[in-house]
Amino acid sequence: MRHTDTGDAAAPLLAASDLVKTYGGTEALRGASLDLRAGETVAVTGASGSGKSTLLHCLAGMVRPDSGTVRYAGERLEEAPERRLSELRRTDFGMVFQFGQLIPELTALDNVALPLMLGGSGRTEARERAGTWMERFGVWGQRELRPGQMSGGQAQRTALARALVTGPAVVFADEPTGALDSLASERVMTVLTQTVRESGTAVLLVTHDALVAAYADREVALRDGVTAPAGVGV
């Protein structure tokens, strides 16, 4: 289902270079650069307000930077038409946020099946594949519940199943465990890490929690909208 050739394994799959983004008088990003290789998990860390979410949004094609470039498999996202960006978000990218990504009116199973149906799959096939992912993420037993009826951890594992069900090349996770206690957080991170390792999915993981960042292969630290040089923390 990947529409884009992920290309040469040595070249980064996704690369942001010198991103600048200003909101009114606020400089959210003042020169942020980051490479993400295929299959790699990178943690973006930094204090609240340091620009982590803005960087994730620029990389996922949800926000256009004022300057700088975002390349995905060789394609320039910062200048790509909106239509192409929404196509990529449907086919190549998966998203998980801290709250609210599940549709409250749908059952867990229909939530996970939805991206497949939006991609043109029939309802039966979509629900079958969605069920497989829910089982893998330990939420098969909750398939008929609505998001409001699940625990926070179950809802986040359902959201992960929904993010991965289309077989994306990159998952963007913004504080995916931000609202969870330590054991629920551990379960979400363990299942995410194991799954993406098997499927070769790259993950951009935004977190302010070092215990969560420790699941990543490496860390990129943001401070006041600027990324630190490689290997250097906050």
Partner: protein, 177 residues
Amino acid sequence: MSTRHILLGLLASGPSHGYDLKRRHDERFPQARPLAYGQVYTTLQRLVRDGLAEVDGTGSDGGPERTAYRTTEAGARELARWAAEVAPPAPYVTNEIFTKVVVSALADGDPAAYLRDQRAAHLARMRELTAVKTAPGADLATVLSADYALNHLDADLRWMTTTAARLTTLTAEVDAT
């Protein structure tokens, strides 16, 4: 803890005699065991023997005769090396990290650079421990001990993050006393 390096750090702000060094040490590190005079004098003599400090002069100020010491260039280099050296990321290194940051700030060093390196070492160790505890088949004792170490390293890391953010103020305060 390295008494040699703490004394070198205290000497970085100017010549001082043994009694004064002991008093400043006990003030600066109230959590540490107070230094014994004997230990201060022995350590000063070793610093002189190793060329890291030298006698600045003697005086009595109306009281007993006292020898003042000053740091040498080699002493300043040794202090900078120690202050920049990453501590092994294990639980209970907090006190060493704290001491390095304070001594480094006292000696006009670069505690921010040290904290970045220490943070990277801590996170690398936390990644190893996370891999150990999430490996398929990890037994309960392994998971519990990895959790224990992870949470203590995380506490260090949060202190280091706060300290890095506070450093400008901290340096200013240490300079002022």
